[in-house]
Symmetry: C3
Subunit: 353 residues, 3 copies
């Protein structure tokens, strides 16, 4: 609907289905790329994903229970293991060969449950292009996981993250406050990568925004050098490292100095349907890792910011869906957004060729 | 949508439109087999059914009033008698011949208002195949009438009643509690009839479920012989007689003994649309007929049970409607459900041949 | 859907977009004739209307802000003047020629903001056929503006106003109370005009309805001569003058006498979609113009009356939309309604010929 290719997403790719902690001893239902999926974790701790439909009477398996043998349908008790094979039918000994449901390859890494919705024979771990080791390092990068369901095409959220000049407009009361002009006129270095696009923006000697002041405790009148480093990785991850140091401390040369403000953010954006998506996000506290309250406050501040985006994304979706025949006009600040779109369209074309 | 024939229901058949007490001196609107119908009772007590649309300006007649002459439209006062003829137009003496609305044959019996949605010339009382005399016997079978609107195809509800192995799963906290295995492994006698299917299940020497204990006052440790007798009558009635006697009292030979637990249930299931239905139900207290509180408690317990079914039926409907192209697998316990489906499909085919 | 022509409304005509006071320093979004429009008023007080979609990323402009240069998009800051031209893009000096949004001709008169949704080259002030000078005379005709969003085709509301025999039925508890028969049997003088239809109804020597008694203070037992004068002006205005004088005071010869009950009402009905509309209305207090409380009470009484119509209009819409293939029957009291329909159909045919 919003891409120049007909297909909205590649099928043969890993998508985030859930945060690891969400997949536990109760079935978890998700709509992924237009399919109804149910996730569960067995007694050995292995996560599995099945189609959310019993093969007996089309009842959703999410209404069932996780038992020793697998996932048991809540209607008449048919039970399926993690491969989708029916392993028990109450009241009968022989299980027909066609009693099975579809299962989906799962890969669990760095606190993320990845799912492969395409051809299972093509699934392999080396096709996961994103790496976010900080998720495994709660000591130095403490963080809280979150997920929003948003009524917009998943790429509208990628668009949002690829053009940060929206910050001084949408977020002028939170992270976009302070020096509006300085934020729009940041330097911008964009590099196309094999799997997406990378950019870094620098705003030097600017007044820090309220969120940064609150987080890092910059004193009244301090100017800062602020950076925003983002990488989009197809099909639907964005890795972020942003922060600020007092001007004069040489942030450009060394961003890993103590003090200042410094956070990483993982964004996982998975299509539910053409017009809806899951937005998995977690901000990692890199500036006061021993301070639990700081981690919590950081999470709350980011949540407020994302809430501001929601109204825009959902209104944009509704408007765009109604006006697909009308032209759009790119501007200079689409310099990272446009190659991000090209990257996913390339991936879709390669798959459908 | 859920039958192998194209048509979802026979038209030339009696369907429950309402309980008798529901049709009173105010118009009652119902959507029946995709048509908007309004029911009312005239001063002589005769129930009538008209299309719910004034022939003047397509205003629903349900917004009108029952007056001496019939049903008066609430917008401009046109009045229609029970045959659908316009008998009054305010401000004019001559009534045009085409001023009329459609009327539907009505048959009222055993506290049920039956409606005929098909060809009126084919309607006759002998085509009502269901008989439930206990509705007329409030002394020995006191009961309360109820109705649920459910977002599922009407035959999913019939399916539900034709395979009681769902009870130890969906209703494990109410009527399905106690001996789960014993309930699944009941003996099952199925007989196809001219108008549907009949079955009786026996569970002998089992722990009674909590609902039965509450109702009949079985003492701690008592085992019972429990029966479930059901008959499906096309197109959409299910007649039920269930109960339990202490094991050893010879329930199989004589179920009409005093004591124990014993109820009849009438289920009337009428399609609103392909994906929604009305579920008329009334449980009749045959075990403590003089005890008003027992009748009320029975009704409440059954309501709790049916509430448990609702989530399953509506989720199943949504899932099935989305996956019509996917196969389903019958199991041994579909032994009554499958002939019930065959019976209604036969009836539809006979009508459309 | 409800007209015998295919098109639902003429495009080349003035429609009420808003009351003047509604268009202020914040953007106001309206759906007009199936198009999303945003209205705003610039620093000089000039009202403008643009399509509610930024040409950059299809974000609704209603989420933006009115600034000195025009309306600024809330997402990335593009700014448009009242003609739809983009006058600012943050971060770039050159503005591409195709950076523009559609604008709509606006005409503001008598407290109404009129919009022209068709070919802008055809828009001219002389094509506004309705005149309601009393809106500008708050001293002698004090009034409060209101607007309802109604889920019905706009012409169903015109129909409602063209056949007042609905009053003793729908409004029997408010303005239709009192002498029901007398109200139905009013004399009715209908005149087709070049731009619609005019009628006046007289009910002489009748018991006044409760609303009139409350408003004018008629004493117990007083009979009145009551008039209802209405004019429909294509495409979607209805101008009303109604009132009552004590019987014997010669109301027919002179309705402008002091005392009695006397109000004017402006009805502006603008299609949102085929099945929804905006209903702009204001009742003008012509009987106690110095009495602020009377103006407020009049407004509240009329609001109660219109609330009674709402259920009918929305139910009628739903019923009519479902039964377009079924015939309707006109009655004698459609004598003004039918020429009103003919007038708008003539206008649509002239435009589409």
């Amino acid at each position: 609907m919003f891409l120049s290719t007909e297909r909205q997403w590649p099928l043969n790719a890993w998508y985030q289905a859930a945060w690891s902690h969400e997949v536990a001893d109760a079935p978890l239902a998700r709509t992924l790329l237009n399919e109804e999926v149910v996730l569960f974790r067995d007694a050995e701790g292995k996560a599995s994903a099945l189609e959310d439909r019993c093969c007996h009477r089309a009842t959703p398996l999410r209404l069932g229970e996780v038992v020793a043998e697998g996932l048991r349908c809540g209607y008449h008790g048919l039970t399926f293991d993690g491969t989708g094979r029916c392993v028990a039918i109450p009241g009968q000994d022989t299980i027909p060969r066609n009693a099975k449901v579809r299962s989906y390859p799962i890969l669990e890494r760095q606190e993320i449950v990845w799912i492969w919705m395409g051809d299972p024979d093509l699934a392999s771990a080396d096709k996961l292009h994103v790496d976010f080791p900080w998720n495994d390092d709660h000591e130095n990068w403490p963080h809280i996981h979150d997920m929003y369901e948003i009524d917009c095409n998943f790429m509208l959220l990628v668009d949002n993250l690829m053009d940060l000049t929206h910050i001084p407009y949408i977020h002028r009361k939170t992270i976009g406050g302070g020096d509006q002009r300085g934020q729009v006129d940041a330097t911008m270095d964009v590099t196309e990568t094999e799997t997406g696009v990378h950019y870094i923006r620098w705003m030097e000697g600017i007044v820090p925004p309220p969120t940064y002041v609150k987080g890092a405790g910059f004193t009244e009148g301090t100017l800062v050098d602020r950076w925003q480093e983002f990488e989009y990785v197809v099909p639907s991850s964005v890795v972020q490292w942003t922060g600020a140091l007092e001007a004069g401390r040489g942030a450009r040369a060394d961003r890993e100095q103590d003090g200042g403000f410094n956070l990483r953010l993982y964004h996982g954006i998975t299509p539910k349907t053409e017009s809806t998506c899951y937005y998995f996000w977690t901000p990692l506290n890199g500036y006061k890792p021993k301070d639990e309250a700081a981690t919590r406050i950081l999470h709350e501040e980011i949540a407020v910011t994302f809430d501001e985006d929601l109204e825009f994304l959902e209104s944009q979706q509704a408007c765009m869906a109604q006006t697909l025949d009308r032209p759009l006009v790119n501007v200079k600040h689409d310099v990272a957004r446009v190659p991000a779109r090209r990257a996913i369209e390339r991936m879709i074309r390669a798959e459908t060729a």
